[in-house]
């Protein structure tokens, strides 16, 4: 009994239970709508794993939302609700695209410059929210939502500037190739590269057919780094202290205003990094006219909460979400079931994550029950 209670209290358990519930609900909805759930789930998983290039694409899709998830999770640990990840992602994408088109630098210079610029742009966009909260007490949710839209229209404005707009398209010119962060982009197209790759068919498919890039490595590295900063450094402790109890933190001598600003800066920079990875990592390497939000930031909210706010958990939650979004297209193509079933499923998973406290309460009750039993 005590062991069951212990297992139930682990955060990963509630995530797994939530995922199972997500599948159950999706199965019921699919069955009610007259589709075969097994067939649909089969299509979903074959859309994610059936071919090496699918797996590669899942990793490519997951990297940015792992980063926006980290951004949200980080802010949430400091009691800030960063609903502005979307806007921070967009401004970073804008800045990276503009500089990537204009700066004529070799890769070793251009890549760090673009990464720094994107993170800075996202950081400024997030920091603005922190500043307005610290200085005027304006709720971060309002400013974030407004800044999301300002970024949205700013992006559409920039896309349509004659200097950057690619004629006969809906987007800007792509950034310079020296700003790409793909794995060995030149080698894989060279004769030696092609010869070497032709011997390993799966690697060849992955390298030639998808934009294999460093995004996922950056995302994993950042997840570990954010976890380290939050739990192993004095700064992280300070930021979390402000999250736990603002008044107590102030009384202990922590500058709360500054701490709010710092945490939004960092959170914004993480979303900014997501923008960098998306633009520098995969085709079409540009920004295009937005008809609606692309949800890279909003999906980060779901990722962060499926991860239960754990930075390392964001890696797995992001892979799950990215994978389902990508595989969901196959569900529509193969089974004919609306691909929105994925949104219903993800929503259900997030919903059951919200209920996870129930599980730990249950675990407590179990533990208490067995303790009584022992007496």
């Amino acid at each position: 009994m005590r062991l069951t209670a212990k297992i139930l209290k682990k955060p990963i358990t509630s995530a797994l239970i939530a995922i199972v519930c997500g599948f159950l609900v999706a199965a019921v909805v699919l069955a009610a709508a007259g589709y075969n759930p097994w067939q649909a789930f089969g299509a979903l998983f074959s859309g994610m794993f059936a071919r090496p290039k699918y797996i590669s694409n899942v990793l490519i899709k997951a990297a940015p939302i792992i980063l926006t998830g980290l951004s949200v999770a980080f802010a949430y640990k400091t009691s800030l609700f960063n609903i502005g990840a979307e806007g921070q992602y967009i401004v970073s994408a804008i800045v990276v695209t503009l500089l990537g088109i204009r700066l004529n630098l070799p890769a070793p210079l251009l890549i760090p410059v673009l990464l720094a610029a994107g993170m800075l742009a996202g950081g400024v966009w997030g920091g603005l929210v922190g500043l307005l909260k610290a200085k005027y007490g304006i709720h971060e949710v309002i400013t974030s939502i407004m800044l999301n839209w300002i970024a949205f229209y700013l992006s559409n404005y920039i896309v349509n500037l004659p200097a950057f707009h690619q004629p006969d398209s809906t987007g800007t010119y792509p950034i310079r190739e020296s700003g790409y962060i793909m794995l060995l982009p030149n080698w894989k197209r060279s004769p030696q590269g092609m010869a070497a790759l032709s011997r390993i068919p799966w690697l060849r498919e992955v390298m030639m057919r998808t934009d294999v890039n460093f995004g996922i490595l950056i995302a994993v590295f950042m997840a570990v780094l954010v976890g380290f900063v939050l739990y192993r450094t004095a700064k992280g402790f300070e930021l979390r202290a402000v999250g736990f109890n603002r008044d107590a933190a102030q009384f202990a001598g922590i500058d709360v205003g500054r701490s709010l600003l710092e945490s939004m800066l960092i959170s914004g920079a993480l979303s900014g990094l997501a923008g960098c990875v998306a633009i520098m990592g995969a085709a079409p390497h540009n920004i295009s006219t937005l008809a609606a939000f692309e949800n890279n930031g909003f999906n980060g909210l779901s990722v962060a909460f499926i991860a239960g706010g754990s930075p390392v958990g964001c890696i797995f939650a992001g892979l799950l979400f990215g994978g389902f979004l990508y595989g969901g297209q196959t569900v529509q193509a193969d089974v004919g079931a609306p691909s929105e079933i994925i949104n219903i499923m993800m929503g259900t998973i997030v919903f059951f994550m919200a209920l996870s406290k129930l599980i730990s309460t249950l675990a407590d009750r179990l533990a208490k029950g067995s303790a009584l039993h022992a007496e």
């Binding site: 307005l132 304006i138 939502i145 609606a292 129930l358």
Partner: protein, 307 residues
Amino acid sequence: MLNNLTLLISITFMYSAPLIFGALGGVTSERAGVVNIGIEGMMNIGAFAGTAVCYFTGNPWLGFLAAGLAGGLLALLHAVAAVTCRADQTISGIALNLIGPGFALFFCRMFFEGATMSKPIANKLPKIFGNLATQNAVAKNLNLDITAVLAVALTVLLWFVLYKTKWGLRIRSVGEHPAAADSLGISVTRVRYLCVLLSGVFAGFGGSCMTLDIITQYTPTAISGQGFIALAAVIFGKWTPQGAYGACLLFGFAQALTVVLGGGKFAVPSEILAMLPYVLTILVLILFVGRAVAPKEDGIPYEKGAR
């Protein structure tokens, strides 16, 4: 000049109506102590349900009611999570924002031959003076949408209920100090359930204002951020119905300005003009409104007997 002025008024009321319903939903739920980030999702499902029912029955009022029902059903999930299961309300709200549009689009594809867009409805919600065909542009502009009137009516009603009746006192006490309310025999659970359900109904109405009045069909982008703007308006209006109404009206006005000023009359690109409502909101907050204080127990699940 008069024509432009009245056009400005008419667009202001038209655009603000969906926001007002959504924001009133937010006020209702948050005054009872339940944070509702899920307004966007509730508006979305309301927008779809309203359009679908109106399309198949031909009656926009049935659509309007169905929208409220659909929003309320989605809100029921939030209530179960937030009140019964004492869940993290922010997270459950985020979930609704995925589930709402998910179901809306799922059903849309089923009812409208696989398209994510419904067919246009034949009859939209009426104007206040009916369809008096008039040549005069000014009079035509002043023939406001019925939703504008309904929005005012609901605002006044909600204000009256919240501040002038014992039910309102109960709602507010549950939001501020549920333990005290509980000790006086008020069922915190029942009040919170009722308020969350009503918030879904209002948000659903708001969603259908968009599709039964403004764009006359459901599209995946019919509701794109209005729920979040409504959420901002709740905070902007300091959690009061009249404040939220004002905030939505300001927002609608700024949007109307962009429409009236647009069309190439000024040397300002349309995208820059489109930012106006959002920039204005931030400026107004900095200059005039400042710190907003939420209901004391907003977002905190109530546990009987907990200290």
